[in-house]
Amino acid sequence: MAGLLIFSENNGLALELVTAAKSLNAAAVSACVINNDEQAQALASTGIQVYAVKNNDLLMADVGAIATAVTQVADKAGADTVLLASNRRGKELAGRLAQAMNAGCLTDVAALSIEGDKILCQRNALGGATVATQCIDAANKVIAIRPRIFEAAAEGGTGAVDEIAVDVKKSGVTVLEFKPRAGEDVDIEAAEVLVVVGQGLNSQDDLPAVEELAKKLGGEVACSKPVATDKKWLSEERIIGLSGKKCKPQLAILMGISGQVQFTVGIRDAKTIVAVNSDENATINQMADYIITADLHDVVAQMNQKLG
């Protein structure tokens, strides 16, 4: 590997990428920062070289222009490998940047390791049923890494911040509006205990009892995707699975969840799994440590009562 360049519009994720980059024995690690002085300073103080692009015509929403800019920075930095974050912006950029750099590309990478001159990447395949170990066999590489796989890099050293000019064409992309999500401030990935509800839950009115149970166990409430996106009973921050969060709690109590692989991929690393399902043949029972075949509403009520 020649040089390695990192890029993410998100300050926290950019710092995680520094840690990822440093784990890869690259000859040189540098960062591309676009219209973000605060991020440029934060990255430089981890000791890496920063290339700061300042160009008000360059919109984060214009993925084609961002790909052009990052390609030019990678070129000037002498980088053949670019690490991106696999958040939505990073994932959308990954394919376009790879095409622009004539690079091979892997997204949603959950683990990285070095074997000889290869970077081995792990990612889910077959809808989460399997974990594939893959590497890019091409001169140029774009790898998008899932958030929270690496710790944010700590301060250490002072890298240079060099302004760099890029040449991008005006494009037909205009941002009309940005509506911030009235996000709920909950971090299910940090919880030691999760009580997770699925479509077996009868109604939103049954949630307070579930919340009470989660509190008694010192945990948080999480859910399968349809509970948040179809029924809208809980916020999307609480979704576990392929398109939600991957959680590794000590204890996960899964209630009224069938066990589709797109869900289980987000909870299979839990230390202990309890499955509560009214169907004794539910798929979820195959991946549980403790199985109880019962109506979840009864189980919640009894647990709340018995745990006082």
Binding site: A98, T107, A129, G172
Partner: protein, 250 residues
Amino acid sequence: MNIVVAMKQIPDLQQIRIRNRQPILDDVPLTLGNIDKNALEAGVNLRDEHGGKVIVLSAGNENIEDTVKEALAAGADEAFLVIDDSLDGAESSLIADVLAASIQQIEEPSLILFGEGSGDNYSGQVGSRVAEILNLSQVSFASNIEIKGNQAVVTRSLEDGEEIVQIDLPAVVAVLADINEPRIPSVTQILKAGKKPKEVLELDELKVEAGKAMVITASNLAPETERKKVVVKSVDELIQALTTEGYVGR
């Protein structure tokens, strides 16, 4: 206005079994990617509103002639298929070359729709690669699409908010799974689907300079799961077990 919907033929994930950590794909029926069906539904709705045609585009092995009927039954007007065994499960960069070359043969495509990720790999690269090859604007993770003359107003749904973007057409848009609920075709629609026009090309007829595969898969195994699978008969027993494990009464 013609709308191209790119759809990937994948094994029906519900029917894949795991043996000795290996996925067993033999005899698993083929279907179209789940989120690709959301893209199709979005395309069909836009066509109903604005006129034009919906053309399903797919590259894969010869089975796609049959698999694509699902999309023709669900409202697409025509299919454009590129067939070669080598395209089955081919890597994103190769598929992108083939799809981009195909789109150039389709008359006036105003909008090229993808799902946010394929049903099997969910890698989300192909739409972005196609946009770069064709030098088009793009929006992924779209939760709403409106056409206004020569432009589209698309909502890009990000982790921290919704970005409403206006883009010139033609453009590439990759939709979120949540954008709509795909229709389930009726029996008559399925019967009629076989009669809808299909353009079927062999890969060498497309004259595309496909590069070499750039991703190597070293292994692809189900994760090891060792679970106790203890059946407990009552909530008391469950609480007992959780106490023994140290989760209760700490």
